[in-house]
Amino acid sequence: MIVPYSHILMFAGILFAMGIFCAVARRNLIMMLIGVEIMLNAAGLAFVAAALRWQQLEGQVFVLFIFAIAAAEVSVGLALIVYAYRRTGSLDPETYNILRW
């Protein structure tokens, strides 16, 4: 393992923070979904690093499952977003504020 585990964790942490920022700050539903995907990828990176650190394959298997689950998530999300877009004509989360308090 050439790159130390702690560096990868830091990198994953930065990637994760970027994902959170993208998911929280962007004003477009599709961009928010992409932010969540980045967060998932950061977690996957940390898993692979841990798998390499302990020489155990569970981490890799986890990543394989994350792929599929992320795909399912994007599918459900995209379907919902298309549905919402056809109903309201907007992808801006600001328009979804009928429900409050």
Partner: protein, 474 residues
């Protein structure tokens, strides 16, 4: 080989149900009556199956899946919750008729996923089960017919849920990185040794975040009111009951991992519990919509359940299990009234309850008992649950926490009484006709009310079961 698969019967039965609903969904013309009776029958059998399997013990799938009393007790609760929610679907007006089979299909897959969730003792299994249940709910929420709020609720639920699950996954990666195993049995040995390290505690807290989202604990609560209001009444009933029960189960499993030796974790749970209770109760006071009120009340109840869990003792876990069951029954009773009163599938304002005691005396009585139960007034199961939870916390010396919780219970009494006042003392502006209450509904209402009162007065049997189940965790 056969022996192994018998352990898996409740889940296999759920899978079978899902296949049947899938077949019904493929049929060309919608037939709500057929769908309803199929669902009712199969869900009823599901409860029997889950009860029959309650004594099974063993492990499956390379030890990733443990069947023990703890998991089986929760499976019975989930099957009961599913059955009771299906019972509420006689007039499923909130959802288009051609989508009824899909509605039952996703309820079933969600129940299946939650049954798997309470049994899994391996991180990957937990994650997959949790996601399966979440995705079923993401689809169920915007299935509602009509007026735009469903899309908004669905999007909010999806976005918050996806973020929470990503956070949880990141936490899982830290836990795996620290403990180099994904099996809870091994983690429970390794983790207390390294719980002092930042990576371990951060990982565990992040993992808990994902489950707190399911339970709607304070920082992850903001989906609850919108989703409760935006989803169809029956879907809300399901989210408010069965999904909460599964979340309680898995939070207990994960918190038990720390071995009770982490002060940070306890402090954090205490803070979250107090914040949830206080926020839920204070905001609930100003609500006008019944489902929103129940949403905020569920946030505060998540706080009470956490008190039991954070005691991290056998009595604490037992009290949390009991509380979860009590909450399931009381909340379902509330939703029974909500569904029956707004039988056209619209949202129910609290003011619309006016004159309920004359329109449907039985429903009004059930509502009063359920609401008093949620507030924690004696002859009901809710009082017993709160009492047990507080007693467990007192045993551990969390006096301040219990006092705050009691103050909160008093605050909550105010808005619960507003609901009862609307049903009993207020008169509607114009005279409304009597609500037609069918015989099966009456039977169901009486059964729920009886359960609430009988187990509130004589909880010893249930408590024994809860204690035995909690011992499995330690």
């Amino acid at each position: 080989m056969m022996n192994v698969w018998t352990l898996f019967i409740p889940e296999l039965y759920c899978l079978l149900m899902a296949v049947v609903f899938f077949g019904l969904a493929m049929s060309a013309r919608p037939n709500p009556r057929r769908d309803y009776f199929a669902a009712l029958f199969m869900a009823g059998v599901g409860v029997v199956v889950a009860l029959a399997c309650v004594r099974l013990e063993g492990t499956l799938f390379f030890e990733a899946y443990r069947v023990d009393l703890f998991s089986q007790v929760f499976k019975v609760m989930l099957a009961m919750g599913f059955f009771l929610v299906v019972c509420l679907c006689t007039e499923l007006n909130g959802i288009e008729e051609r989508h009824h089979p899909e509605f039952y299909l996703f309820l079933t897959t969600c129940t299946l996923a939650m049954m798997m969730l309470v049994s899994s003792v391996e991180l990957l299994t937990i994650y997959v089960a949790l996601e399966l249940s979440s995705y079923s709910l993401y689809i169920l929420v915007p299935l509602r017919r009509g007026h735009g709020v469903d899309v908004e609720a669905g999007i909010k639920y999806l976005m918050v849920g996806a973020c929470a699950s990503a956070v949880m996954l990141f936490g899982l990666s830290y836990v795996f990185g620290v403990t180099h195993t994904t099996y809870l049995v091994e983690i429970i040995h390794v983790l207390p040794g390294v719980i002092g390290t930042p990576a371990a505690i951060v990982g565990l807290l992040l993992v808990l975040c994902g489950f707190f989202f399911k339970l709607a604990v304070f920082p992850f609560h903001f989906w609850a009111p919108d989703v409760y209001q935006g989803a169809a009444n029956q879907v809300t009933a399901y989210i408010a009951t069965a999904s909460k029960v599964a979340a309680v189960a898995i939070i207990m499993r994960v918190v038990a991992l720390s071995g009770g030796s982490s002060k940070y974790l306890v402090d954090m749970l205490v803070t979250l519990s107090i914040a949830s209770m206080t926020l839920g109760n204070l905001v609930a006071i100003v609500q006008k919509d019944m489902k929103r009120l129940l949403a905020y009340s569920s946030i505060s109840h998540a706080g009470y359940v956490l008190i039991g869990i954070l005691s991290m003792s056998a009595t604490g876990y037992a009290s949390a299990i009991f509380y979860a069951l009590a909450y399931l029954v009381m909340n379902l009773c509330c939703f029974l009234v909500v569904v029956k009163v707004s039988h056209d599938g619209s949202d129910l304002k609290i003011a619309q309850l006016a004159g309920l005691h004359r329109r449907a005396p039985l429903l009004a009585m059930a509502l009063m008992l359920a609401v008093f139960g949620l507030a924690g007034i004696p002859p009901t199961i809710g009082f017993t649950g709160k009492f047990l939870v507080f007693a467990a916390a007192m045993e551990k010396g969390y006096v301040a926490l219990v006092i705050i919780a009691m103050i909160n219970a008093t605050i909550s009494l105010y808005y619960y009484i507003l609901v009862v006042k609307a049903a009993y003392l207020m008169e509607p502006d114009e005279e409304l006709p009597r609500l037609p209450v069918s015989i099966p509904t009456k039977v169901l209402t009486v059964a729920l009310v009886t359960a609430m009162v009988v187990f509130g007065v004589a909880p010893s049997y249930l408590l024994e079961v809860a204690r035995a189940a909690a011992r499995m965790l330690m």
